[in-house]
């Protein structure tokens, strides 16, 4: 079983990376980009085969290590 965790900055938190990416895309001539945000994904291979308990476990991992909940939000996706 796999878990994919999407981590992004909370709304309102300054995202200098995203801003810089959007700006350079515009500079390079990609006109249609109005905003960019950068986030990260963490993909975990899990030995568990119960999606329910896996999700709870990953939830804990996010809180304790993977996400910085002071400034980041996260979403967990469990894939078989």
């Amino acid at each position: 079983m796999k878990a994919i965790i999407h981590i992004g900055l909370k709304p309102g938190v300054l995202d200098p990376q995203g801003r810089t990416i959007a700006r350079s895309l515009t500079h390079m001539g990609f006109e249609g980009v109005t905003k960019a945000r950068q986030g990260k994904t963490i993909e975990l291979d899990l030995s568990s085969d119960n999606a329910e308990t896996a999700k709870l476990e990953v939830e804990k991992m996010c809180k304790q290590l993977l996400a910085n909940t002071v400034i980041e939000d996260y979403q967990i996706e469990i894939v078989e």
């Binding site: 309102g12 938190v13 300054l14 995202d15 910085n68 002071v70 400034i71």
Partner: protein, 742 residues
């Protein structure tokens, strides 16, 4: 926009007392609206108004022959000859770093650099003074990792070398770490910029990043005690953008080379509020700003939010009318926001408009003049007993070998190498770092670009001593910086301080605070070594437990000629070790007492710390500088934690040679080796300098004696320890990396 009703709860939430609220109503002749209340609350917070500390800070020596600007501006300014000036300051970012170590520490570095370049000085060196909880505390490791990463990430990116600092671990900081950052900048004396907004009708410009909802209430938060709900207050943490800071430095430097700026001020705590008010107050003018013009990152921001936001990397400037286009051109070139947001007026009021309505109209003077200036009651700490050496047994009698003593000390968290930390800091960028943490040196040495002179910089404080005796501890912190500067051959010029204490509403804490300041001041006066800038951080406590009193001192000195300086390195095989200064073998509050005698276990301090004889301090320092100037010594180290033994060992690590120390007839061996008597230096000298160095010292009434020789690969104290240099060095280097590697 919804109108917020000002209830007693709202007033209390803003940290204002009933009496303070009454004063506000009285000055306004009406009740304030929420924006005005917010403005008063941040301006009268501990952080901005220094309400508990002001009257005590006033006592300090702030003038000297090299002082160009003392406290009161963004940073202090000193004269280092040839029209050059050094601008420096130290500041705390304790609470934010505890909540979000990476961003908290990073924005701390960003903030202190802005304080320096806002005065026209290009930052040339950063330092950091860090205090963490005990290593076994579950949070400590991740706090160390996050803080160090944050400091490095910001300073490295901006391209300013981080050249030194200090790091302590103690359970007293478990829930309240200290992150103190110091920045040193270089300016031309005739190009120093100040914050007084002189003149009426001059345009006010906002430059840098856009304003978001970051850190609203950071200033009041920094002044409020933590409790278990602190997690709920989390979203107030700001995010730093060192890339923008770097652009801001370059843009400001470019603009400062023109004559367009009348006044300039960075937006630090309380952002737009404190920057605009301070500029107006100092210039004796009023300010009118249109908040619709403020560059905004988010939609729907209220005036309250804009005025209290602590978004980073922003500055406010008053420009010469007619020169606006110069600023606009430069900031646009650097891809930064730039907007004319207001004008200086003759009303003496801060007037804000938003969506064509006046949302704030308050007289500026009361914000400063009527700011609370408290005379908090305090209990001076009582004096502790002296620990006499005949009360102590020899370690061997107590069942510990001298070898074990050394190993315990050398691998203790405060002493063990901090390489794991400072290797994450770019120390060599800018190409002028002569000496940094890399040599374990007493003070970092940074050359003034393109010249043959340099400044020496150090930060010091021994909280162990301050806890035991706030007055002596305050003195000692200043004296240690003085000693560290002298150790490299620099003439000590001035200090900055960062006074970290607990809750000033407690009499014992306030007593520590007052006595520390008195101690600092006593040292400054005796050493002719004034305070030119500083910062106070109070309420460093969690659930009623105050941190150890920690007045961190940053010292700056001048090396006039880089052909004549010293470091820990340079000693040669066969040279002699000479000890300068008086040794009684003082063990009270020493590292030895704490770790070997077990005094660290005691909740309350047990014995008095070593007193500092300031006259002797000055004499010894002056003599050491002279020895360095006359090339009489090949390496120098001051004696601090762990006394003679650790000083000799640290020198051995730097030089790669062992040594043989002998004992003394007058002092028991353990006290001789590990006593922490103040005002002492260990120097290495060649054979033919030995007698002159000692005899000249004696004519100056400075105790001096040969204590050993350099050479071999063993660390030997006759009748005491005998250790392998290489193994001991490895143990010294491994503690922190082993700890961090989980």
């Amino acid at each position: 926009m919804k109108k917020v009703k000002i209830t007693p709860e709202v007033v209390a939430e803003h940290g204002l007392s009933e009496k303070e609220y009454e004063i506000i109503c009285d000055r306004l002749g009406r009740a304030p609206n929420i924006t005005e209340l917010g403005i008063f609350s941040v301006m009268w917070s501990e952080h901005c108004s220094y309400k508990s500390s002001r009257r005590h800070l006033k006592k300090m020596l702030t003038k000297g022959k090299r002082v160009i600007q003392g406290p009161g501006e963004n940073a202090g300014v000193i004269d280092i000859d040839d029209g050059d000036a050094i601008v420096f300051k130290m500041e705390s970012h304790n609470h934010p770093s505890y909540i979000e170590p990476f961003q908290g520490a990073a924005t701390g570095v960003g903030g202190i650099m802005r304080d320096v370049f806002t005065m026209g000085a290009r930052p040339i060196a950063n330092l950091n003074a860090l205090r963490f909880g005990e290593p076994s505390h579950p949070k400590t490791k991740s706090l160390v990792a996050g803080v160090v990463h944050g400091i490095g990430a910001y300073g490295n990116c901006v391209g300013v070398p981080t050249v030194g600092g200090e790091t302590n671990f103690h359970r007293g900081y478990n829930d309240n770490i200290l992150v103190n950052a110091m920045c040193v900048g270089l300016a031309k004396q005739d190009k120093v910029f100040y914050s007084a907004a002189k003149g009426v009708g001059n345009p006010i410009f906002y430059v840098g990043s856009k304003t978001g909802r970051d850190g609203i209430h950071g200033a009041t938060m920094a002044s409020a005690e933590f409790d278990d709900d602190s997690d709920a207050k989390r979203p107030t943490v700001q995010v730093g953008d060192p890339f923008t800071e770097k652009l801001l430095i370059e843009a400001c430097m470019e603009l400062m080379a023109t004559d367009a700026i009348i006044a300039i001020q960075d937006m630090g705590a309380a952002g737009l509020t404190s920057s605009s008010i301070e500029m107006a107050d100092k210039g004796g003018v009023g300010v009118k700003m249109n908040l619709d013009k403020v560059p905004q990152r988010e939609t729907g921001m209220t005036p309250y939010e804009m005025m209290l936001s602590e978004s980073q990397e922003r500055m406010l400037m008053v420009l010469q009318p007619g020169k606006e286009h110069i600023a606009i051109e430069i900031f646009e070139k650097w891809d930064l926001d730039v907007a004319e947001v207001g004008i200086t007026t003759d009303t003496g009021h801060l007037v804000l408009t938003h969506k064509s309505k006046t949302v704030c109209d308050i007289p500026i003077a009361p914000l400063g003049d009527d700011a609370p200036n408290l005379n908090r009651p305090y209990d001076p700490p009582k004096n502790l007993d002296t620990l006499y050496n005949d009360q102590i047994m020899d370690p061997v009698t107590r069942g510990t070998s001298y070898n074990d003593v050394v190993t315990t000390l050398i691998t203790s968290p405060d002493i063990a190498s901090k390489r794991w930390i400072w290797e994450q800091y770019d120390r060599s960028v800018m190409g002028d770092t002569v000496d940094s943490s890399n040599s374990g040196g007493d003070a970092a040495i940074v050359r003034i670009h393109g010249t043959n002179k340099a400044i020496a910089i150090t930060t010091d404080c021994t909280p162990r001593y301050v806890t035991a005796d706030a007055f002596e501890g305050g003195k000692q912190a200043v004296a240690e910086t003085y000693r560290n500067l002298c150790s490299v051959g620099a003439e000590p010029i001035a200090i900055t301080d960062c006074l970290n204490f607990g809750n000033p509403e407690r009499k014992d804490v306030m007593g520590q605070f007052v006595r520390s300041i008195e101690g600092i001041d006593a040292a400054c006066r005796a050493l002719d070594y004034p305070v030119v800038s500083g910062n106070v951080s109070l309420y460093n406590e969690t659930n009623g437990q105050a941190i150890p009193p920690t007045p961190a001192i940053g010292g700056v000195g001048l090396i006039k000629n880089l052909e004549r300086y010293a470091t820990l390195k340079g000693a040669k095989e066969g040279e002699h070790l000479v000890l300068l200064g008086k040794t009684d073998g003082w063990l009270g509050a020493s590292l030895y007492a704490h770790l070997i005698l077990g005094h660290a276990k005691s909740e309350a301090p047990l014995y008095a710390p070593p007193p500092v004889d300031l006259e002797a301090e000055k004499a010894a320092g002056t003599y050491v500088r002279r020895l360095i100037r006359d090339r009489r010594v090949s390496s120098v180290h001051d004696l601090s934690d762990g006394g003679l033994a650790l000083a000799a060992i640290e020198m051995a690590f730097a030089n790669g040679f062992g040594f043989k120390l002998k004992g003394s007839a007058d002092v028991p061996l353990y006290a001789w080796l590990f006593g922490e008597d103040q005002g002492r230096y260990l120097v290495s000298v060649e054979e033919n300098s030995l007698n002159p160095v000692i005899s000249t010292a004696r004519t100056l009434n400075i105790p001096a004696q040969k204590v050993g020789t350099i050479g071999g690969s063993r660390l030997i104290a006759t009748g005491g320890f005998d250790l392998s240099l290489q193994d001991t060095h490895m143990e010294y280097e491994s503690w922190l990396p082993d700890y961090m590697a989980d």
